[in-house]
Amino acid sequence: MIRIKDLHKKFGSQVVLNGLDLDIEEQGIIAVLGPNGSGKTTLIKSILGMVVPDKGQIDLYEEIVIKRWKYRQNIDYLPQIANFPGNLKVMELITMIKDLRGKEARDQELIEFFKLQPYLDKKLNKLSGGTKQKVNLVLCFMFDSPLIILDEPTSGLDPISLLHLRDLIQQEKEKGKTILITSHIMNFVEEVADRIVFLLEGKIYFDGTVSQLKTNTRQQDFERAIANLLSEEYVQDFKI
């Protein structure tokens, strides 16, 4: 499905991706983790074509994606910061994105799901951060694409919406979709992820399931296991 070969990206003199290889063939939820600056967002943005890699190849459904744009028809993306043109109303924004995609959308269902009806006629600059994030989620999930990319989906959400989001992600998974997630909330990741891809210094440093991670690091607690990945001891023990 996604095949990434030898991906390199530098910003100025700072190497962000350093020969990254990644294959994602299966359906399910894949969490991309790593410390700040490890290249998570750059990786995601390279798949989306927002960052132009210096070297390397990205294939999506057996098609090269670099410098193309039509393939994005099959990706749903949730950006990290939800910021929209302030003068548009919520419904106008949803209509606009639908218009741009020219695809069937299930916006009504999701508006009900996130209880956004009272806000549809409000301008976007009048909304709170959490409500904006909900609009962001509606925009992302309404198209039913086989690949979903979520960059920090939990930010700004209240606990109830967070539960809703978890349900929604599970539903999408059961439909047989591939979902790529980055998040800093570890118990969220532990609960939903089928596979963990841990990035460090622009390379994949660990790739496996949550239980594999726990066994490898000899830790019972997921957060500690992640912290352990970064400790030097482990770096010497386990090199890939």
């Binding site: 927002m50 039509k70 939800a82 548009l88």
Partner: protein, 260 residues
């Protein structure tokens, strides 16, 4: 591209700034006409204002719009839309809404005053055409600056500097060089130097249209000789078009390689 243009335009027509700009011209037009009671002096005064204000507003609006819609641009970039369509759409959205403010703001008082019956209609049309070109040129330059600078403050700084350079400093340097090299024949030099500054070019075009080039003495005669001919008219229009086309081409080059 048209979809992006439509929504950018839609977004901007709701912004209070477009109305402030519109009312500024409306007020200016009304004041000049009804206090002055003379269409042709009104046109000349307007020219002086337009030549300074239009580039300034185009630059500031362009930079501001680009930086304000950055996150939204990211959302669009993740949609199945071509990169160049996104930025050209936004650019034309800004340029067209500014042009509309200009045309409506000045047009309404002039039409109300009875422009269609007067002989200066073509002077007025010329004024609007150069105003349109200046809007297109300076918003394109602003987009270029903003695209090349991630830092807002830097972007704004360079944009203002560019305006200051073309609107004020360029003329100063031009004048200095004329004084300094006054022993040499300077007609060709001044013609070419004028071509390379869209603000000067617009000013000359309007002045010649108003037929007051006699005020410009010998240089005026040289200019009239050149710009008054069909060749001159075509060249100067061509130059203004190039001033729009080149920044747009550079914009396309930059966005092909840019990371967001």
């Amino acid at each position: 591209m048209y979809k992006i243009l439509k929504y950018s335009f839609f977004d901007l027509t709701r912004s209070s700034w477009s109305y402030v700009y519109f009312f500024f011209y409306l007020l200016l037009g009304i004041t000049l006409l009804f206090l002055n009671n003379d269409l042709s002096t009104a046109v000349i005064t307007l020219m002086n204002v337009i030549i300074m204000i239009v580039p300034l507003i185009g630059t500031i609006f362009g930079v501001m719009y680009y930086y304000n819609s950055r996150e939204f641009t990211e959302l669009l970039l993740a949609q199945p839309v071509k990169r160049s369509s996104i930025f050209l759409g936004q650019y034309f959205g800004v340029a067209i809404s500014l042009s509309l403010s200009l045309i409506l703001g000045l047009g309404i008082p002039f039409v109300a005053y009875g422009l269609f019956k007067s002989a200066v209609i073509w002077d007025f049309v010329m004024l609007l055409i150069t105003g349109l070109f200046l809007t297109l040129i300076f918003s394109a330059l602003a987009f270029n600056i903003a695209l090349s600078h991630e830092n807002k403050i830097k972007g704004f700084g360079y944009a203002i500097l560019l305006w200051l350079f073309l609107a004020v400093i360029y003329d100063g340097l031009f004048l200095l060089s004329l004084v300094y090299f006054q022993d040499y024949p300077l007609d060709k030099f001044s013609l070419i130097a004028t071509m390379f500054n869209p603000i000067d070019l617009s000013r000359i075009l309007i002045l010649l249209k108003l037929d007051i080039s006699a005020l410009l003495s010998y240089t005026g005669a040289v200019f009239k000789e050149f710009f008054g001919t069909p060749l001159g008219a075509v060249t100067s229009m061509g130059m203004l078009i190039l001033w729009v086309v080149f920044p747009l081409l550079r914009m396309r080059q930059v966005i092909r390689k840019k990371d967001f």
